[in-house]
């Protein structure tokens, strides 16, 4: 009997141990029943994080990567610990590169579309972070059920700490993920303070009529803000709830020879362009008459191209028609 009792106690203990993670899992799933809510909450998280992240991107057949130290502390955050650093608190940001410091200050927090406005969001499981915390994985699928991005929300900090972007064929084209930090890479010094530096421009009214980018793009991208910069550079900032996309307008055509030849040809409306995969995401460059356009986005390349494709070539002004008529035959434009 004593043997049987030990067996019963042992089995009971095993069941109890087995029940603990099960209980945790049930609790976690219960908290993450709504992936859209989890994503929205992560955008206002103020948890602490001190970690190393790896960013990988696939510009062509090769894969490039870089490692960056990140820290978050009660709503403030910093990335980088070398000569290239950036930080802020969401509305006030600074970027320091090679001694040049630029500050941005947003007047208001932009309101994005709901995360599930354009995408089918599903919980895709959990994984342990290098720091030992649990990360909730969320997949955003398109209307054909294809996974286009996997987001990772750190339960401990509430922050989004990983993002994997997939091509139309399911290949991983861009990723940010936590990696184990090397012992000597742990930063023990206080977080860098926001330095003084030149300020970048703020937003401009949406009624500005000299923007060529529309209020709405394809694939559910809605205009959130417009900005003007020196040298007649204008930025229109969009989001579809999951991804963000900017279109930069320049009053000059594109110097294609100055761009990497690795880009792939793409057609935007009736204009020819190229798209690239960079550390910053998908970059699409195209020219329309004497205006150049550059789109930067964290969305998959095909989504970006589809989003900006409705930008029809604008009609030329009378002066531009004369210039086109005079200089066209000589190949000046």
């Amino acid at each position: 009997m004593r043997g049987i009792g030990r067996v019963v106690v042992g089995v009971g203990a095993l069941l109890a141990i087995a029940a603990i993670p099960t209980t945790l899992t049930v609790t976690s799933v219960s908290a993450a029943d709504d992936p859209a809510a989890l994503i929205t909450a992560s955008r206002h998280a103020s948890g602490n994080l001190d970690a190393e992240v790896e960013i990988r991107w696939r510009p062509g057949k090769s894969v490039k990567s870089a490692q960056v130290h990140v820290r978050a502390d009660n709503g403030s955050f910093w990335v980088g610990d070398g000569e290239w650093t950036a930080g802020g608190d969401g509305r006030s940001l600074w970027v320091s590169k090679d001694g040049v410091i630029t500050r941005w200050t947003a007047e208001n927090e932009v309101t994005r579309p709901d995360p599930d406005a354009q995408w089918d969001l599903v919980m895709a499981g959990k994984q342990m972070s290098p720091m030992g915390s649990v990360i909730d994985l969320i997949d955003a699928r398109d209307n054909k059920g294809r996974r286009r991005v996997r987001l990772g929300i750190d339960q401990a900090s509430g922050l989004e700490v990983s993002r994997e972007v997939y091509s139309l064929t399911g290949d991983l084209v861009h990723s940010v993920r936590l990696i184990p930090a090397a012992t000597d890479s742990v930063v023990t010094s206080p977080p860098p303070s926001a330095p003084d530096g030149k300020s970048d421009s703020g937003s401009v009214p949406d009624t500005a009529d000299d923007f060529l980018s529309p209020n709405n793009l394809d694939r559910g991208f809605k205009l959130l803000a417009r900005y003007e910069f020196p040298n007649n550079i204008r930025q229109s900032f969009y989001s579809d709830g999951i991804f963000t996309l900017s279109i930069f307008e320049q009053s000059a055509s594109i110097d294609w020879d100055a761009l990497p030849a690795s880009g792939r040809a793409v057609n935007i409306g009736n204009a020819n362009g190229r798209w690239y995969v960079t550390a910053s995401g998908s970059v699409v460059v195209w020219a329309d008459g004497d205006h150049g356009f550059t789109s930067i986005s964290d969305a998959p390349p095909d989504v970006v191209v589809a989003a900006v494709r409705p930008m029809r070539p604008r009609s030329l002004s009378e002066t531009e028609k004369i210039v086109d008529f005079v200089t066209g035959p000589f190949g000046w434009n």
Partner: protein, 162 residues
């Protein structure tokens, strides 16, 4: 014809002078000289008779109206001459006009080229500052977005190199 080689005269009588004599166009002195020669020379009196007879024969011919085509031909010849004259003038005038038109046209083309090259700015080409654009986009994405994931690329070197 009448042979004057053997005639000894200092007056040099001729058929033209004799015709003028017949027509009464000579003055008294010349008329006396002609009549003196005619009195002395039987040959010149023959010539005088021939001229007088021919004139009488011509005057005796009936007067006829010229055929209508004659006047048309004459008018045509006159018009042709006039036309030739007008064409020459026209050509000269056209040459002058063409020179002006060529000059004006050349000046116009030159003006258009000058305007195209100098006055109207040529289409500029610029390299998009992809790195700067990426930073600006990342900064905007952080506002209400995922600060760590959205901003991490800003601290990455060689993000977009040739």
């Amino acid at each position: 014809m009448t042979d004057f080689s053997s005639t000894n005269n200092e007056f040099d009588l001729s058929e033209d002078l004799l015709s003028a004599y017949i027509d009464g166009e000579l003055g008294p002195a010349d008329r006396n000289l002609v009549e003196s020669h005619l009195a002395e020379s039987a040959q010149w009196r023959v010539v005088l008779d021939e001229i007088t007879n021919v004139r009488s024969a011509l005057r005796s011919l009936p007067e006829r109206d010229a055929p209508s085509e004659f006047w048309e031909r004459l008018a045509a010849v006159t018009d042709t001459e006039a036309a030739v004259i007008d064409i020459d003038k026209y050509r000269r005038r056209n040459r002058r006009r063409n020179r002006w038109m060529t000059a004006i046209g050349g000046a116009a083309v030159a003006a258009v080229l000058v305007i195209g090259i100098v006055v109207i700015p040529k289409t500029d080409k610029a390299q998009p500052p992809i790195g700067v654009f990426s930073n600006r986009h990342a900064v905007q994405a952080v506002n209400g977005g995922a600060p760590i994931v959205d901003l991490v690329s800003v601290a990455t070197r060689n993000r977009f190199s040739r």
